[in-house]
């Protein structure tokens, strides 16, 4: 008996040692295993959802691909970990994923107490409400007494409580862990109101049985800057993830697209030359721990920020979300990249 216990203990110890531990040099780990492990949403059309043939596609998924392209020169070297709102943080904390590109709001609590780093906002969002048109509600202030469907463990849940409290409105929260559960409950009439980030509402409305019966109320009750998150304590990896976003934005500003990137390499504009790593004696990528071709690889893999936006959630997609705040800074929005210099 004692021997059997001993064997079991040794077995457990060996298995424990084999478990992944959070490591400082994420870039080395990623290069060693040959792919980026990317935490994404379990299914939010336009942001990250498996397409008809089972491949992950969407706005956040393209960020995963862009990071892989920057590291490996190949956007397909990604493995996806679908996470619920509740699972996403432990997954990143424990080192199960290298980066979390999962429409996650940047907040001070997550930046500090949870041990993550955010720097770039790839989508400026805000929380909204969706209701059935038949209710004849024109404003969120008329929602007193409503049952509200919301996903648990989100900033949405907290904003909702704050908004109803500050406006002295009553409500009955109906919370679920997974988005599809919230969807099903709202669709079945379990609640009158569906609240989440407005981009999410546009996406989710498409999946309801009668999308045209629902409308999104004009109020935006919160700031939801969504962006990729990494663990604290690894500045190099943090820099890479941040500059992938800046490269996408910068490429749009320069007018570099997936189609014309090779051509643009011949550009005489010194800024473009520097950005694409064709300048003589360039260290633009090696300083990041990557190759000088990193920006070219990103653009070849997914295009520029505008292309990523349009293809997944903008004019070229069923969601048809306006660029709004997410237009470039010189086009009326606030998407802005620091100089590549």
């Amino acid at each position: 008996m004692a021997r059997r216990i001993l064997t079991a203990l040794v077995g457990a110890a060996v298995m424990g040692i084999g478990a992944p531990a959070a490591s400082a040099a994420t870039l080395d780990d990623v290069k060693a295993k040959g792919f980026v492990q990317c935490g994404v949403n379990t299914g939010l059309a336009g942001f990250s959802a498996p397409d008809a043939s089972g491949n992950w596609a969407g706005f956040d998924v393209d960020y995963c691909k862009a990071i892989a392209a920057a590291v490996f020169g190949d956007g397909s070297k990604v493995k996806y970990t679908p996470t619920s709102a509740k699972e996403r943080f432990p997954a990143l904390q424990s080192g199960e994923v290298d980066v979390l590109a999962r429409n996650t709001t940047w907040s001070i609590n997550r930046d500090t107490a949870l041990g993550f780093n955010f720097r770039t906002v790839n989508y400026y969002d805000g929380q909204g409400f969706m209701v059935r048109k038949g209710l004849n509600v024109k404003s969120a202030l008329e929602l007193s007494g409503a049952a509200v469907c919301v996903q648990t463990g989100t900033t949405t849940e907290l904003n909702l409580a704050d908004y109803f409290k500050s406006n002295n409105l009553q409500y009955n929260p109906v919370v679920f862990e997974k988005l599809d559960e919230v969807n099903a409950a709202y669709d079945a009439g379990r609640c009158d109101v569906y609240t989440t980030d407005q981009s999410g509402l546009y996406s989710l409305r498409l999946t309801l049985s009668k999308p045209d019966d629902h409308m999104i109320l004009p109020e935006i009750i919160s700031k939801e800057p969504l962006g990729p998150a990494v663990r604290q304590g690894d500045d190099q990896w943090f820099d890479i993830v941040s500059w992938v976003h800046y490269a996408l934005v910068q490429a749009e500003e320069f007018g570099i697209t997936q189609a014309n990137v090779e051509e643009m390499k011949k550009s005489t504009n010194p800024d473009v030359q520097r950005f694409l790593g064709v300048e003589a004696d360039s260290k633009i990528g090696t300083d990041l721990g990557l190759t000088n071709e990193w920006a070219v690889n990103i653009i070849k893999a997914v295009g520029n920020y505008g292309e990523v936006f349009d293809r997944n959630i903008g004019a070229g997609s069923p969601l048809k979300i306006e660029r709004g705040l997410n237009a470039l800074w010189n086009k009326g929005g606030i998407q802005y990249a620091p100089p590549v210099r």
């Binding site: 216990i5 203990l9 531990a21 007193s144 049952a147 919370v175 862990e177 559960e181 079945a188 009439g189």
Partner: protein, 397 residues
């Protein structure tokens, strides 16, 4: 092994062979096990602390005093977003307790009915019971929960077209709304009268039992008790001017407002757990009754005891000895299965804890609270059932 093999007396044992001494070996292996266990725990703790430090995560249970910031749909105690995380955990715990206790009671009742039903000579009832057991026993509990939840949501009418039942009860896919009693001044006397009646009933039935044991005369206990428990409070209630009003649910803009509402989440979880566990309890009951030797009931018949009394006084008390221990396991299973609540958004301990875990990032602390609470609940159930089992056990003389 060595003890059985050797016939040499202890003092003649050759020196130096203590390696083969089973006692020494036993101590040696146990020491090794303890050391490895201690090292393993140390390694896990050390690694955890190191990983937490590296990830810059604050640890400790201080977070329970923080403001929750979220609302909970179903709560037995007052809870707002200004309450603490600790209170949110209490809300979750009470919800778990509520569904577990309600589920255990209902599952026991259904289980006993179906279990006895399987043993009747009535062909239809026996086969229906068999079908019930086989259906519910062979479906994963999560599916049963989904079945009830989608059933509740899909079949029942929308909130604004709620089905009105007598007594101002309304049924819709938002749950069952019923009038909430509002106690006025003087209602406490009715309550006191009820306590008094209950006490008197207890004394009356004890007296009746003693009298039957001594003289063989039986008293109409049932009617006396009913008269006491219903009559006395009723008279007091009317005498004090009927101080009771009802808060009746009325249709509001979105939902029914007023009254009390039992949500579809609780209903479906409660029904699913009850029906699922009842299938197992039915089999345990059947096994228990079958386990009583046939000679017992034959002897009772031979003494002229009627079948109904035979079941009540001879078979069931003996069957209980067989039934109770496995029944305890089913109660524990039901309590633990209640954590499946998360799938349908019932605010039980796991669901609320999960929200807190997400807001605070205190994964280890929250998970440890879950473990401790479920362990305590299970141990408490076991203790109670062991006590009950000891009471029901055959007194051997």
């Amino acid at each position: 092994m060595a003890i059985g093999a050797t016939t040499t007396p202890e003092k003649e044992k050759p020196a130096g062979s203590f390696i083969n001494d089973p006692q020494v070996r036993g101590i040696f292996y146990q020491a090794i096990t303890v050391i490895i266990l201690a090292l393993l725990i140390y390694w896990i703790a050390d690694n955890t602390i190191e990983n937490l430090r590296r990830a810059n995560i604050a640890s400790g249970y201080g977070f329970v005093r923080g403001r929750a910031g979220f609302d909970v749909g179903q709560s037995l105690i007052a809870f707002t977003s200004d309450s603490t995380y600790g209170r949110a955990l209490v809300v979750g715990f009470l919800n778990t307790l509520l569904v577990a206790i309600a589920g255990i009671i209902t599952a026991t009742i259904i289980g006993f009915i179906v279990g006895i039903g399987r043993l009747t000579h009535n062909w239809i009832i026996a086969k229906l019971s068999l079908a019930y057991v086989e259906v519910f026993r062979n479906i994963p509990p999560l599916l049963v929960i989904f079945f009830w939840y989608s059933g509740v949501l899909a079949v029942l009418p929308q909130a604004r077209e709620a089905l009105a039942l007598p007594l101002n009860i309304f049924v819709s896919n938002r749950g069952v709304a019923f009038p909430k009693p509002v106690f006025g001044d003087g209602f406490q006397y009715t309550f006191y009268a009820f306590i008094l009646a209950a006490l008197a009933s207890f004394l009356v039935s004890r007296y009746a039992r003693r009298k039957q044991a001594e003289t063989g005369q039986r008293m109409p206990v049932l009617w006396t008790v009913l008269g006491l428990v219903i009559g006395l409070p009723l008279v007091t209630f009317l005498a004090t001017g009927a101080p009771l009003a009802f808060d009746v649910p009325v249709a509001g803009k979105f939902n029914l407002t007023g009254g009390s509402v039992v949500g579809p989440e609780f209903l479906s979880l409660f029904l699913a757990l009850s029906f699922y566990t009842a299938a197992f309890i039915a089999e345990i009951v059947r096994a228990g009754i079958r386990g009583v030797s046939k000679g017992q009931s034959e002897a009772a018949h031979a003494l002229g005891i009627r079948p109904r009394l035979t079941t009540r006084l001879v078979v069931v008390p003996q069957a209980m000895r067989i039934i109770i221990p496995p029944l305890t396991s089913q109660y524990l299973n039901l309590t633990k299965n209640s954590s499946l609540a998360i799938a349908i958004g019932y605010a039980d301990l796991v669901a609320v804890g999960g929200t807190i875990l997400n807001q605070t990032g205190q994964a280890i602390e929250v998970v440890s609270i879950w473990l401790i609470v479920y362990l305590s609940l299970s141990l408490a159930t076991s203790l109670f059932m062991n006590w009950y089992n000891a009471r029901m056990a055959l007194v051997e003389r």
